[in-house]
């Protein structure tokens, strides 16, 4: 027996090989069954998935003791844990993280719809006993995670503006962790919704795509402010249902769709979403996915959570540092020719360029404000700070996501390759570049 510390046993707690649980009733009659999930809570506690009210459950409530055997899926080393039941959680971050993992395990075993998490039973680990038996040596990890994390954080430190920082975040996941598909989503001020603002490894950037809180691993990570990962994809955590609903509602207002498709992989097998927090406040979500199963383990979650945490701190520092610093640098002249009609629908602040949907919400309102000002006065240079206090925009009192909104707007305009652009013009400043005749319409 060794002093209980579960940290080195986490590979055995991924649910790859089913664990075994023994319990007894008050008369000493034992019961033994397989259990889908023994989840790591902290070095001294695990959570077991409560899925059915069965004999195991009755025994646990009666005698509060369990003996569990876990298997490392790489080395086949087994350990026996003596556990004492503490409590059952039926909501919250731990519950949601187990629910996502269980959905993946169920999908993997053809048990989708059969395995359903009713509660997370929390147990204190009294002892951890290695079980003697044949083992397979563990292979050395190709990329030591701690070194990769350190390099990733250093790379983020080198960024001097938000746009560069968000792009760098997806770059370092590729360079340091070999993660080829990733995105950064930012939270809307006061809304239970995120929008993609940077992505890497997809055919379409998907910048501007929205994810509702609670939807997929991204939406659950945002709502619960906890990392969520899944090693076998399942329908339950796919994106689309809520997006379709948004599209349908939008369709009632105007024929053209007002959404941007989510850029994710068509057939992901592993996904992980890490909340980007600053002082407990949700700034956004760092998301990665892969076509292989079980791509992200507990150690990967630790590493990426550190990167996401560092990203949150860097965002906060850059925002605190925001000043108007005028660097007039004329943008490349756009070819002048033709003309476009820009339409604005106040109902959802959506903007259409000719008949194509561009953007909606705060970013749509900002663009419309800039275009009106340009049309009336010919002015092209603006400061973020004046938008923040512009009564016509009615921004939330602490509209700190304005910078991220501007990045989104710039990128959408760039992707559209229309004759409208927004260029950076020094810290906290930007320039509207209009290279064609402009007609503004605001249909009633």
């Amino acid at each position: 027996m060794t002093a209980p510390c579960l940290d080195t046993l986490r590979p055995s707690l991924e649910g790859v090989v089913a664990s075994v649980i023994a319990t007894c009733d008050a008369e000493g009659l034992p019961n033994v069954s397989m259990i889908s999930q023994v989840h790591y809570v902290d070095p001294e506690r695990v959570a077991l998935s409560y899925q059915f009210f069965n004999k195991t459950r009755r025994n646990l409530l009666a005698t509060r003791r369990a003996s569990v055997q876990i298997v490392d899926p790489e080395t086949m080393q087994q350990h026996r844990l003596a556990l004492d039941y503490e409590e059952t959680l039926t909501s919250g971050p731990l519950f949601e993280s187990m629910k996502a993992k269980l959905a993946g395990i169920a999908s993997h075993h053809g048990m989708e719809g059969v395995f359903r998490l009713l509660g997370a039973d929390i147990f204190r680990v009294l002892s951890i006993e290695p079980v003697p038996g044949p083992k397979i040596p563990r292979a050395a990890r190709a990329r030591p995670l701690l070194a990769a994390t350190r390099r990733a954080c250093a790379a983020l430190d080198a960024c001097t503006d938000l746009e560069e920082l968000l792009d760098r975040a997806t770059e370092v996941l590729a360079a340091q962790f070999g993660i080829r598909h990733a995105m950064v989503l930012m939270a809307e001020d006061g809304e239970d919704r995120l929008y993609a603002v940077a992505s890497r490894g997809y055919r379409a950037s998907g910048v501007g795509a929205e994810v509702q809180f609670g939807e997929g691993v991204i939406g659950v990570a945002a709502r619960e402010r906890t990392p969520i990962r899944i090693g076998h994809m399942t329908r339950e955590y796919r994106y689309g249902a809520a997006i379709t609903e948004t599209a349908r509602r939008a369709g009632l207002i105007e024929g053209a769709p007002r959404t941007i498709p989510f850029p994710g992989l068509a057939a992901p097998r592993s996904q992980i979403a890490l909340p980007i927090l600053e002082g407990g406040r949700l700034l956004g979500v760092l998301f990665a996915e892969a076509e292989e199963t079980m791509r992200f383990a507990y150690d990967d979650e630790d590493a990426l959570a550190l990167v996401a945490g560092h990203l949150g701190a860097r965002i906060a520092i850059l925002r605190a540092d925001e000043t108007d610093e005028d660097h007039p640098a004329p943008g490349a002249a756009l070819p002048l020719g033709g003309g476009v009609t820009v339409r604005y629908y106040a109902v959802d602040q959506s903007v259409f360029v000719d008949h194509d949907y561009l953007i909606k919400g705060v970013a749509g309102a900002i663009l419309w404000r800039l275009l009106q000002e340009f049309q009336a006065t010919g002015r092209t240079d603006f400061a973020l700070r004046e938008l923040r206090v512009d009564p016509a925009l009615r921004l939330p009192a602490h509209g700190e996501n304005l910078d991220a909104r501007m990045i989104l707007l710039r990128r959408r305009l760039e992707e559209r390759q229309s004759c409208l652009r927004i260029e950076k013009a020094g810290r906290g400043r930007f320039r509207l570049a209009v290279a064609c005749r402009l007609t503004l319409e605001e249909p009633a």
Partner: protein, 182 residues
């Protein structure tokens, strides 16, 4: 995973229990459960120590004698605590779980007897382990891991024998854990 098989269910287990008589030699088990237990399944065990604390164990294979006595084979060193609890008079539970369809049943008895392994246990264990490893490969294990999962030390095998007194379906799904009674 593989969707080529019809998932086993507790309902199906209850139906096949009702449709069969106990195996002719004696004991409670029906012929299909006798066959399942010896078909290369995962064997898990539990007892209760004198303090009332449950002890989990993992077996290597299983043989069933014509009179219905179950002879579960397990590693001695790997299951020292379980063997101690049984020697001290602890009751026994054993669950047999098949791969790849997760069909499973559990048996319980008031006591079990420790026995030495017999020379003809070893080839039978090898056979069952080979079948189980193939089943694990079928549900997605690599060959190396499947073989690692069933690996054992042939010089450290012991048997526990008991006559099942109660039988339960343990296949996952609604009704899992239901007792199979006459």
């Amino acid at each position: 995973m593989s969707s080529s098989f019809i998932p086993a269910s507790p309902i199906n287990d209850l139906a096949s229990w009702a449709a069969q008589k106990p195996a002719p030699g004696g004991g409670l088990l029906t012929p299909d459960l006798v066959a399942l237990a010896q078909s290369g399944v995962s064997v898990t065990l539990a007892s209760c120590d004198p303090d009332g604390r449950p002890i989990v164990g993992v077996g290597i294979g299983c043989r069933i004698r014509p009179d219905g006595t179950i002879r579960a084979l397990l590693g001695r060193a790997a299951n020292a605590a379980l063997l101690d609890a049984i020697a001290a008079g602890g009751r026994i539970a054993a669950t047999f779980t098949g791969a790849p369809d997760h069909r499973a049943f559990q048996v319980k008895a008031a006591s079990a007897t420790l026995r030495e392994a017999l020379s003809d246990d070893l080839p039978e264990i090898d056979r069952q382990c080979a079948v189980l490893a193939d089943g694990l490969v079928e549900i997605g294990f690599s060959r190396e891991l499947a073989d690692g999962y069933v690996a054992h030390d042939p010089d450290d095998i012991v048997a526990i024998e008991f006559l099942p007194e109660r039988v339960f379906t343990q296949t996952p799904g609604p009704g899992a854990g239901a007792e199979l009674t006459r």
